[in-house]
């Protein structure tokens, strides 16, 4: 029998590596849409013996919609508006980024194994994936110059944190209204970042964050 949870987690890991290596911003947005959907459905497969009730089902649907459709569409618009197709001259090169991604993956395996947590079946792999996603998101924010890639890095970081939460904690704590609040914050956050991004583009004719260096001591 194919283990669907592992299948999805492998897809998430692949999306992380792909995002580190992709030069085109449009491709990056598509990868984030895929990753968003995969991250949203992970808890369903990790707790496959539990059948989600009405509230939970609604929550997962909303989450797939927001992470897989709404946020990518917002990012898609942002990329269209700023008419920049690819990231030229990243701070860390693409090959080096992929190697870093692999190193991050190895590091997370090592960390999770040395924690000696007595997690239920399949959760340690989820934790490894989560750690890698989180660290890769951080890396993406620091290694790229364009503001839009930094937003994508932030989304990846948030995905990683959500996965850690799913892997570590029991579902009994989950109150969907609270989770929904977290999701809403994320959505509004991306919207506000998009608005500022658009304004940065009109003010500077570019979204290169190295231009944002006037305020310092």
């Amino acid at each position: 029998m194919i283990n669907f949870a592992d299948f999805i987690l492998v897809l998430i890991l692949l999306s992380v590596l792909l995002s580190l290596g992709s030069t085109r911003l449009m491709a990056l947005v598509k990868i984030m849409a895929l990753q968003g959907v995969m991250v949203s459905v992970t808890p369903l497969f990790l707790n496959s013996h539990e059948i989600p009730d009405g509230g939970a089902a609604l929550f997962y649907l909303v989450m797939i919609f927001i992470k897989g459709a709404l946020i990518p569409v917002l990012l898609y618009w942002a990329v269209k508006r700023v008419s920049i197709k690819r990231e030229i001259e990243p701070i860390v090169g693409y090959h080096a980024s992929i190697v870093t991604g692999l190193a991050v993956l190895l590091g997370s395996v090592f960390i999770v194994n040395s924690l000696h947590l007595s997690l239920p079946e399949g959760r340690s792999f989820a934790l490894i994936t989560a750690n890698s996603t989180l660290a890769a998101g951080f890396f993406l924010m620091m290694a790229r110059r364009k503001a839009i890639t930094q937003v994508i890095g932030y989304l990846m970081l948030e995905n990683g944190i959500y996965l850690i939460g799913t892997a570590l904690t029991k579902r009994s704590h989950t109150i969907y209204i609270v989770e929904f609040g977290v999701l809403l914050d994320l959505l509004v956050g991306v919207m506000i970042m998009g608005i500022i991004l658009n304004n940065i583009n009109t003010a500077f004719d570019d979204i290169d964050t190295t231009l944002l260096g006037q305020l310092k001591d």
């Binding site: 914050d185 506000i192 001591d217």
Partner: protein
């Protein structure tokens, strides 16, 4: 229902977005008054929580709610005149975001569920971002971008910390609800390793928002670029809210018997912030940035005092109240100076005593208070923190603490003196309007009065807030 205290500003904020632009400032002033009324009703305990699983009227939250409410009333009076006089282009957005900001901060103050607290703190970042870039200048854009990105990432780490605390609950086989109140009662059964990890992440996360060094980098930019009423609110109210998140976790650590660990972390971050703040105050050419660095330094004092405990902890709470009052008053005065002289460079301003005499009074009195001189309350609180630290045998830390204070006073003094009494330059901009200096006076007066006479119920609330970690004699 105590939830009305944050639902009311939310609704009014949305109403003002729909209402005509000219009336938005009236809505703002009305909301401020209504909020103060609701806050007083909660203090009077005539409202009870509708959703006790998420919200409660904890004493430390009540204190911060009251401070926020009082400051907001003063700031809304100031903004009433400011919005018209500066011909602000997006007055409706400004008023709406100010009210939403008030609402989210009130939500922080009442939250009992860690994730609800997190949601509210993240929401404060989001609704205050438009306030910072309301002028749409290149600098304002840069400041907003840094603010949103650094704070969002920082606060995301705090969420990770909250997940670690949930894990500590699972490992201790605790089935109760996830609220600070119920966690405190079962704290000793929580897994200590993951609780510590959670605390560290929460301090880093909410510490970013509170402006603790070395995560403070967004703060000077945001405070200097935001319009002055928003700066006053950011410095006087927002930083306290982030502090509340750290404080609640610190109380939990104390209940779990890990108070020494969390205390040392807070003392370390506190001293670091004080030194960084003080070093950057010295030689700072921009007076609004100088006030921002002074906020970092003062947040350091609060964190230091809380980490030490006992009398220093009481001092830290007193410091929090007075810092909010004085700093928001100073930002309002700085706003008048900015409107009058049209520059943020302290070197180009001189002789405020002649050109803006009424602002001079509040600006200089604020300076006296900020330096920790009597008759303002920071004198009392800083002495309490020092005495508490000496009683706790933190001698090296006390030396660093006093050193940072002296450095900050020297740095501030140079700028304030030159601006107030230096060679006069002409103030070509807007003159002084009563609505723009009376709020600053009122805030200073409140600090002055609280120094000599503190209402019994405020005193009791402070004692209740610190009771969990040993109280004033702990």
């Amino acid at each position: 229902m105590i939830e009305s205290v944050f639902l009311f500003p939310f609704v009014m904020g949305l109403v003002s977005l729909a209402a005509p632009a000219k009336s938005s400032r009236f809505v703002l002033a009305g909301t401020a008054a209504g909020h103060l009324l609701l806050t007083l009703m909660i203090w009077h305990a005539s409202l009870s929580p509708l959703y006790p699983a998420f919200f409660t009227a904890a004493p430390e939250g009540l204190l911060i709610l009251l401070v926020t409410s009082i400051i907001f009333v003063a700031i809304s009076c100031y903004a009433f005149s400011y919005v018209i006089e500066t011909k602000m282009a997006h007055a409706r957005v400004f008023s709406c975001c100010m009210m939403l900001f008030l609402g989210t901060m009130s939500m922080v103050a009442l939250s009992d569920h860690p994730i609800v607290l997190w949601i509210a703190i993240e929401a404060t970042t989001l609704v205050s971002a438009p306030l910072i870039f309301i002028h749409r200048s290149k600098q304002a854009l840069e400041a907003t971008w840094k603010y949103v990105l650094i704070c969002s990432v920082g606060i995301a780490l705090a969420l990770l910390g909250i997940f670690f605390i949930t894990l500590a609950m699972d490992l201790g086989n605790i089935a109760g609800p996830l609220t600070f109140t119920s966690l405190n009662t079962v704290a000793t059964r929580l897994d200590p390793v993951w609780l510590k990890a959670g605390f560290v992440f929460i301090v880093i996360g909410f510490g970013t928002k509170m402006g603790l060094a070395p995560m403070h980098t967004w703060l000077p930019d945001a405070h200097s670029e935001a319009p002055s009423p928003a700066s006053a609110l950011l410095s006087g109210a927002l930083l306290n809210c982030a502090f509340l998140g750290i404080y609640k976790t610190h109380v939990l650590m104390n209940s779990a018997g890990l108070g020494d660990f969390s205390g040392s972390v807070l003392v370390g971050f506190g001293l670091c912030s004080m030194l960084v703040g003080a070093v950057f105050i010295v030689g700072q050419p921009d007076y609004k940035r100088m006030l921002a660095y002074s906020s970092i330094e003062n947040m350091g004092i609060i964190s230091f005092g809380v980490g030490i405990g006992g009398l220093a902890l009481y001092g830290a709470f007193i410091h929090l109240i007075h810092h909010s009052l004085l700093k928001s008053s100073l930002f309002l005065s700085a706003g008048n100076i900015l409107l009058g002289f049209g520059t943020k460079q302290a070197g180009r301003i001189g002789g405020i005593i002649h050109s803006l005499p009424r602002t001079f009074v509040s600006f200089f009195a604020g300076f006296v208070g900020l330096c920790g001189l009597p008759p303002f309350g920071m004198f009392v609180s800083e002495i309490m923190v020092v005495i508490g630290a000496i009683r706790g045998h933190w001698y090296v830390s006390v030396v660093l603490f006093v050193f940072a204070l002296i450095l900050a006073v020297a740095g501030c003094g140079r700028v304030f003196m030159a601006m107030s009494f230096g060679e006069a330059t002409t103030a070509a901009g807007l003159g002084e309007k009563p609505l723009r200096f009376i709020p600053a006076y009122a805030l200073l007066l409140t600090s002055l009065v609280l120094c000599f006479w503190m209402p019994e119920t405020v005193y009791v609330t402070i004692i209740d807030s610190i009771k969990m970690i040993g109280g004033i004699h702990g």
